[in-house]
């Protein structure tokens, strides 16, 4: 008996048991059990790759990102007898514009429709997408869910969302009443799958006019070229000994993925009409990537200096640094104005001027504006699709858009709602940025069901370029091959 449980046998059994138990966890995770729940990516305070935006679940639309990882909460009174409960899964909690809008919208709608109860389930942070995924996979779905421009094709092409075209026709709603790009990003392959919650434009060039004047620059002048931005960026740098106290411009801190936006602003169109072919490796792409890498060296002294600079700021990230007047020029989203006007209230930043992103060397004289945003979608398999549509469309119509804007700095996607005088007159630079919503022509990402793996490839190659592990020409070639392989793999399975 002693021999049967000898030390050797115990250790052997323990080792083999550990192998089974530990790898079993991974295997079980791939077999339909609950997903692991790691901490949010992009949440790392310092080492997240610079110039890489947070994953899309950390929506920047209100300028405030959700911070808790798994806070699921229901924020409502119980339904009364006879009420139809519309289950709404979204990600906005806390005290920021987006969250306030969710509360205000539901409150007003329930006043208008006493027979409806909007039951909000909030899952903040990186858990949100996993919660959506688990719901779609299990078939136990909410009636409607908040998503973003990047995820509409991801979910729509896999059949998770309900097409809304018939509802649009039934209710005689005209897509022209919304900014073109909001309808475009709510659609996939000719069908409408969502209605705008609020859109955003994210290649606004912000110029801190007082800082420019201090540097001897004419702050009222719009930048006409990338070279001009670079020149201004260098002039706006400030140092105290070896310590950088102010950067003029950080090209890789664009609000999006610089490996996507700069080539697009240099005239490149990536995806074919059917979304199955990508054209990444072009001379204009290489030219754009080359510019960013060189400008990062020339203005900022390279990637590591940006990491150091950012870490030394009281509030990190482009919008916060710009809001605190630590940055002379920023290319970012319209929600930066919320930060400037309501949070930092920095006197100099409040005197910002805005313009559209100028075209690169191959698109001289042109201006570009990229769009994104959040939208509400009715989920396929919803118990109450009609009621969910009614709430979804009401949010997207002028009354809902006004309510959302009145408690936030967001801009409505409905033209009439966005131009509401009560909002326009009370918001910093709103008159200047509104026309940009009509001029947004492209998205700051690949509009594809394979967006997520494509994004990761772009982020990786961006890193490699800044680390000088690859050249822009090699990067373009590599991305061309890898992105096309991702597309081919996906579309070959769809046959």
């Amino acid at each position: 008996m002693d021999r049967a449980y000898s030390r050797r046998r115990f250790l052997r059994t323990a080792a083999a048991g550990s192998a089974l138990a530990l790898t079993g966890g991974l295997l079980a995770a791939c077999g339909g059990a609950a997903a692991p729940t790691p901490a949010p990516a992009g949440g790392a305070s310092q080492p997240a790759p610079v110039g890489t935006p947070a994953p899309s679940n950390a929506q920047p639309a209100t300028g405030v990102q959700a911070t808790s990882t798994a806070a699921a909460a229901a924020v409502q009174a119980p339904a009364k007898a006879g009420q139809t409960v519309v289950e709404f899964l979204h990600t906005w909690e806390g005290d920021h514009g987006g969250a306030r809008a969710m509360v205000a919208l539901a409150k007003r709608y329930e006043e208008l429709k006493p027979n409806i109860k909007i039951n909000q389930t909030i899952v903040a942070g990186a858990e949100y997408e996993r919660k959506q995924l688990a719901a779609f996979a299990s078939g136990v779905v909410p009636d409607m869910t908040l998503t973003d421009a990047e995820h509409v094709p991801v979910y729509a092409d896999r059949g998770a969302l309900l097409p809304l075209d018939d509802y649009m026709k039934r209710d005689k709603l005209n897509p022209k009443d919304w900014f073109d790009f909001t309808i475009a990003q709510c659609s996939w392959q000719g069908k409408l799958y969502a209605m705008t919650h609020h859109p955003d434009v994210r290649s606004i060039v912000y110029r801190n006019v007082p800082l420019m004047q201090e540097a001897g620059l004419d702050g009222s002048k719009e930048p006409e070229s990338w070279d001009q931005l670079k020149e201004w960026g260098i002039k706006l740098n400030k140092k105290n000994g070896n310590q950088i106290t102010q950067f003029g411009w950080v090209p890789i801190w664009i609000q999006g993925w610089w490996g996507i936006e700069y080539p697009q602003a240099n005239g490149v169109t990536f995806l074919s009409e059917d979304g199955k072919k990508i054209t990444y490796d072009t001379p204009a792409t290489v030219e754009a990537l080359d510019f960013v890498v060189k400008a990062t060296d020339d203005i900022n002294g390279g990637r590591d200096r940006i990491v150091e600079f950012d870490a030394g700021q009281p509030d990190k990230g482009q919008q916060n640094v710009y809001g605190n007047a630590g940055l002379g020029i920023a290319i970012g989203g319209n929600w930066y104005l919320d930060r400037i006007a309501n949070v930092s209230k920095n006197e100099k930043a409040m005197k910002s001027a805005v313009s559209m992103m100028p075209g690169g060397p191959s698109a001289k004289g042109k201006q570009f504006m990229f769009g994104g945003g959040t939208m509400d979608a009715v989920v396929k398999g919803a118990k109450h699709p009609d009621e969910a549509w009614d709430y979804t469309s009401w949010i997207a119509l002028p009354e809902g858009q006004y309510i959302a804007q009145s408690v936030s700095y967001d801009v409505g996607g409905n033209r009439e709602g966005a131009q509401d005088k009560r909002i326009v007159d009370s918001r910093l630079l709103r008159k200047e940025i509104l026309p940009m919503f009509d001029k947004a022509t492209a998205m700051a990402h690949f509009y594809s069901p394979t967006w997520i793996p494509m994004r990761d490839e772009v982020v990786r190659v961006q890193d490699a370029m800044l680390l000088k592990q690859t050249t822009p020409a090699q990067a373009a070639k590599e991305l061309q091959t890898k992105l096309q392989a991702i597309l081919d793999d996906y579309w070959s399975k769809k046959k």
């Binding site: 295997l27 339909g32 790691p38 995924l133 059949g159 590591d304 870490a311």
Partner: protein, 313 residues
Amino acid sequence: MATVAARAGAVPRRPFLTQRRREAVEGYLLASPWFLGLAVLTVVPVFLSIYYSFTDYQIISAPYFVGLKNYAKLLGEDAQFWKSLGNTGFMVFVGVPVHMLVGLGVAMLLNQRVYGLPFYRTFFFLPSQISGVALAYLWGWMLHPQFGLTSIVLKLSGVQAPNFLQDPNWVKPAFVFLGIWGIGTTMIIWLAGLQGIPDVFYEAAQVDGAGRLRQFVSITLPLLSPTIFFVAVTGIIGTFQIFTQAYVITNGGPNDATLFYALLIYRHAFQYFNMGYAAALAWVLFFIVMALTLAQLKLGRRWVYYEAERGNE
């Protein structure tokens, strides 16, 4: 009468639910929630994952059978598979020995008879109880190139600290270094192994004139071999699944330098909607870990010394 006699002579029938059986039934009933959980959350998913590994399963839509396509793709076409395996291999074959050596070194120090030993043991053990995510955040700051404690210490020594977590050449060694923080658990195992070595061997060696190094090589190491074996096997298995640090601190970057195998599985399963492919990746990992473990068990026979077994022989 005969019947009565027969009855009188018969052995009384034992009730079906004897004390022993009743206790067994009660035991199983009490344990049944755990068994149910094991079956539903582990056993069934593990078997399902075998099936999914032969399918294209995009989670939202139904899986469809693709045969060995997933396995062919990961072995033949997927550069990230090999990259992640290489990154993980570095942590296994560099990180595990480093952690073993440091753990053993600390355990030997804590095996001395000095004042305040319980305090020192607690001091070295405590960090291993910190959650992986908190630890990752903490070290993200500790290794910061400008403001991190490591950088400040290095600067005081006249050395310019590299950007540990943003430099592809430094990030994996930095993760190995970071892992040392968690040696507390293995340190306890080392300590138990060291305390299992009878003093009489050392006393005899001292009488024979053996120095400290000789005693370590000829007494400590052989008698510690079962512990070395155990720590190595479990360390390798655990390190093959390294995930948290890479997910929280670097998200696989820079340039995939910390794209570890478990992170690749996670991305395919829960971000890319490739659950079938992720299942295939997980099964390949399972076979790699199993093969390594079996090889270690086989090789262990040659170098692991079990005093109890030898004593019985």
